[in-house]
Point group: C2
Chain length 448, copies 2
């Protein structure tokens, strides 16, 4: 097995071996392995190696490179070679690359493609990148209900070489209307003279091209599908989404959620230079500066109180720190719950109340701990009582806001994870300081 650690040795073999060995390696090794070994090398070296491969394999290896590297490599070939490469690529990878090419390259290569590929690109590129349509491929086999099993198998055999998935065939009627599917398994077990219309599965799972791509991944995960048919507004079959693309979608969505929750963006991975990181995180930190100034303003109202009893300033980080972390816990549970579909529409209120309850209990536990320390450690019972009350209030607020923010973003059709960490720390800081310092001001006669 070839694992990432061998990539370096593989490169040596590929570039120092004899031509026969190189050709054999290119023919035998999996496409993903070859792509990994070639990634990051100079365009000359990459093209030299790609030229040793069969056209279909070359296109497959090329499709495994990340898009930036693909675009970079295309700058070193002429438009005929580019057209040839695009023709050999799988339909979904072809359109992804095409959309990223500079406009002039698009214009010069488009006329060189066959009519089928041109129409394919037009069709697949018409969907927004968050839509199911953007991850579908047009490479699948269609059958009609009037075909026999023998005719169907014949058609499958003929069309196999270029198709991404041949383990399901899709049955369509007039105007490509989607009727159902037949698995290869069923076709092989069925009587050769049976009709597709009689053995197909009509109660099939499908998705609309304009639905969100996460939904496609959900359906594939839920029903354990190898591929999911995609239909348009007129119920016509326009493509399929395969299980490997669903895996990519799930991975990308999880990355997006995690980074957005931390107030930055998944783009960081595509091009992770220092400048890129600053560009993506800077605006959120600037917004954070604004919210932190609000916290600061809150504290500044209580300067009199603090100057009378400076220990309050030293205790502020305990209130703010616990509130922030409890809020982050709630946030993560809620964001992930929404992503996994565990919080159905209309259940939001229940989640918020439950989180407030958790905040109340945890606030009481931690607050009591603090109160006990204040009482026995420092002999300051009133200070302990203030900390207890402030802790309970702040952890209830952390629960309420930590769950309400993502649910509100969701109902506004925004990403529930968007910049959540900035908002939650602002909310818990401001409310925590306000409650703690207000109580201290009210009870000042008892504290001194």
């Amino acid at each position: 097995m070839t694992t990432p650690e061998y990539a370096q040795e593989l490169r040596t073999l590929l570039f120092q071996g004899e031509n026969d060995i190189r050709r054999d390696l290119c023919a035998e090794l999996p496409e993903a392995t070859l792509a990994e070994a070639l990634t990051g090398l100079s365009p000359q070296s990459v093209w030299e190696m790609l030229s040793l491969m069969q056209p279909w394999k070359r296109a497959a290896v090329f499709g495994y490179f990340n898009l930036d590297f693909q675009v970079f490599l295309t700058e070193n070939i002429n438009k005929d070679e580019l057209a040839h490469l695009l023709t050999e690529m799988s339909a979904d990878e072809r359109v992804d690359l095409f959309k990223r090419l500079p406009e002039e390259a698009q214009e010069s290569v488009f006329p060189l493609l066959a009519k089928a590929e041109r129409e394919d690109i037009r069709k697949l590129s018409s969907y927004d990148e968050n839509m199911a349509g953007s991850v579908m491929t047009s490479e699948y086999v269609t059958l009609t209900p009037d075909l026999t099993v023998t005719q169907s198998l014949e058609k499958l055999r003929r069309q196999w070489p270029g198709k991404e998935t041949i383990y399901y065939a899709y049955v369509i009627g007039e105007g490509r209307r989607f009727l159902g599917f037949v698995s290869l398994r069923k076709l092989i077990l069925a009587k050769p003279s049976a009709y597709v219309g009689d053995i197909m599965k009509a109660e099939a799972i499908y998705i609309r091209a304009s639905d969100p791509r996460e939904k496609a991944a959900e359906l594939i995960a839920k029903y354990d599908l190898i591929a999911l048919p995609v239909i348009n507004g007129g119920d016509a079959l326009v493509g399929i989404i395969t299980h490997d693309d669903a895996l990519d979608v799930v991975t990308e969505e999880a990355t997006e959620d995690m980074l957005r929750m931390a107030s930055t963006d998944a783009e960081e991975y595509e091009n992770s230079s220092i400048l890129q990181s600053i560009r993506l995180r800077g605006p959120w930190l600037t917004l954070n500066l604004g919210t932190a100034m609000l916290s600061s303003l809150t504290v500044s109202f209580f300067q009199d109180t603090i100057s009378q009893y400076v220990i309050l300033a030293a205790l502020m980080p305990i209130i703010a720190g616990l509130g922030g972390n409890a809020g982050t816990q709630t946030l993560a549970v809620t964001v992930r719950g929404i992503a996994l579909g565990k919080i159905p529409v209309g259940r939001g209120r229940k989640v918020i109340l439950q989180e407030a309850g958790v905040g109340l209990m945890n606030g009481a536990i931690i607050g009591l701990l603090v109160a006990v320390i204040a009482l026995f450690g420092f002999n300051k019972p009133w200070l302990g009582l203030i900390m207890l009350m402030a802790m309970i209030c702040n952890l209830i607020i952390a629960g309420l806001i930590g769950s309400a923010i993502p649910l509100a973003l969701k109902s506004l059709k925004l990403d529930p994870a968007l910049g959540s960490s900035v908002f939650i720390t602002a909310a818990t800081d401001i409310s925590g300081f306000f409650v703690f310092l207000s109580l201290a001001t009210l009870m000042m006669p008892l504290l001194r």
Copy 2:
């Protein structure tokens, strides 16, 4: 298509329809849909509906319930019925359920199972839940190199009904030694008289049963596999992992990372009562109380300084808030980078330096903003200078520690995401307060 919104209507149909309609629905609907409609109903209702299904379909629907519900349902059937159900279930789901049964149920039902199933349970249950072995199934077709294509197809046809994946068959030698695989596609296109040994793919991707399960998901994603063969220490084939299980692993691992990063645990989803949430989050909050007391102690060293210039207390939240959020950004990028394999072993130092660089730049930008506000808004140039220096230091520290914590946890073979939010806020709070208040103490003559 049946979507979650229809579950309620489907229940009505299932429980109020006539027996013929109910039987038809049970036969026609996908297993996942039926399982969804039945989840949460009383055991009597669930078993009433399951009894209308064919044994294989009953077991398949049962396998879609979550494990808690499965265990709960088994309490309402006798041991013969349980043995029958276990026999019909797929091998991986069977062992998952078996491991969760109460000990007495295990002991009473085990002798009732056939020898093959008993051995299967022993084999599959011997792996830790984080190992690839724990997600594999024993349901696949094996061939030997000396079989012809005709004989192979005959064997495939015979073994199909019970096998999870029939699109790949695995080739084994003496002692079940793993030799390679043949796809169904290849078998159907090959000459009927050809030998398996000549058409099989020997350069196959595989995994060891003791490898981490994430690695299985990675390989399946990278090579776009429908199934991945699993071998033991002696190179013998012991199982396969299918694409749908890889999707589950990726989803679960992302959930685990996100929640651990926020200092709680993925267990919250399995049994999300208020008490469960308190049990999981409480210990982290208690640890956080400890770290927050260290921040508090840091501030308390500077009580003299603060009492001389109380505005410092109001400015502390700005330093702490920005540091915490910048640290969280770094943390999320690093944790996700590790999970996606974007940070290879030995590149850790480079990542930490890059993050420190981002911290320096963002610290300078935000710090200058603050300094300008202090200068022109409040005419306090020295205070602005202190804020600028403290902001730069704190954001560099946030970058260093936010990346170093997950990398250190990783090299200690712990989960890189474990409790990270508690550690990062502690580090940025303590260092931020220390730098800010030290500078203020040193420059006090200029401030007053």
